[in-house]
């Protein structure tokens, strides 16, 4: 049999490059959902229309991942006290991860703003250098 290709329609798929994801323990056996808006990592936050670079994902030092818009909105609230919504550790971006690189500047600002609110007597640990924005 002889086949002749008249047209080719390439289809591409993409997903965020999350290092170590193969071994990550999936929360509640869920698929990979943003812990805040509960939409897929590869989808968008509720305010965005197009996934991908317009609505990036960030990876926390604590290995909890969120749409940058979601975590930014959370860290902007006084209730957040700079903490990760999932594990309540001070939220910071994981270093040396490609997809975080472009978000460093944006989130650093939020993290600096949110730090003073956490400086209660019983929270001196926040002052330690390792908690300062990376």
């Amino acid at each position: 049999m002889l086949l002749e290709f008249e047209k080719v329609y390439p289809v591409f798929s993409w997903s965020w490059d999350i290092p170590g994801d193969e071994n990550a323990v999936k929360e509640n056996g869920d698929e990979d959902l943003c812990g805040i808006c509960r939409v897929s990592y590869n989808g968008t936050c509720p305010s965005c229309k197009y996934p991908g670079d317009d609505c990036p994902l960030v990876i926390g030092e604590c290995n909890h991942n969120f749409h940058v818009h979601c975590i930014q909105q959370w860290l902007d609230t006084p209730t957040a006290k700079g903490l990760c919504p999932m594990c309540r550790q001070p939220f910071s971006l994981k270093r040396n991860v490609a997809i975080n690189e472009f978000q460093m500047g944006r989130l650093a600002k939020v993290l600096i703003n949110s730090q003073p609110a956490t400086l209660n007597d019983d929270q001196d640990m926040m002052m330690e250098p390792e908690f300062v924005v990376r």
């Binding site: 812990g35 805040i36 808006c37 509960r38 509720p46 909105q73 609230t77 209730t79």
Partner: protein
């Protein structure tokens, strides 16, 4: 009405398809952010055999802001005042967007199982609880029978 965020739709669907034992939450037809809630009193608590009506409202900023939850049924509890307002950390300072309607209602149910008179909202009730716990528990039981009995 502004469109409902996907997260709220998902949560509502799951509350129906996979309900929490002892808890119901039904959205109001005209306002899908307003839920009529019932919580069964935990076994071996003074609220056992009671069914309590609550209202739950998801503010515009939900999930950045906690749901507003209030008891509609009268209840004798040191952390719930006569207006039905609830003193519960996850509804205030310890809210996190990782929590959901179902987890919040489970926390409310847990509060019924372990009243905390040292962090009171209803001062008179808390005082009674600290001074004469047996009396307080008997009164909580009595109120449960009077106001929260299953019909």
């Amino acid at each position: 009405m502004a469109s409902l965020p996907k997260r709220i739709i998902k949560e509502t669907e799951r509350l129906v398809s996979d309900p929490v034992p002892g808890i119901t939450a039904i959205p109001h037809e005209e306002n899908l952010r307003y839920f009529q809630v019932t919580v069964e009193g935990p076994e071996q608590s003074p609220y056992e055999n009671g069914v309590f009506n609550l209202e739950l409202f998801l503010p515009d900023d939900y999930p950045m802001e906690a749901p507003k939850v209030r008891f509609l049924t009268k209840i004798y509890h040191p952390n719930i005042d006569r207006l039905g307002r609830i003193c519960l950390d996850v509804l205030k300072n310890n809210w996190s967007p990782a929590l959901q309607i179902r987890t919040v209602l489970l926390s409310v149910q847990a509060l019924l199982a372990s009243p905390n008179p040292n962090d009171p909202l209803a001062n008179d009730v808390a005082e009674e609880w600290l001074q004469n716990e047996d009396n307080a528990i008997a009164k909580a039981r009595e109120w449960t029978n009077m106001y929260a009995s299953k019909q």
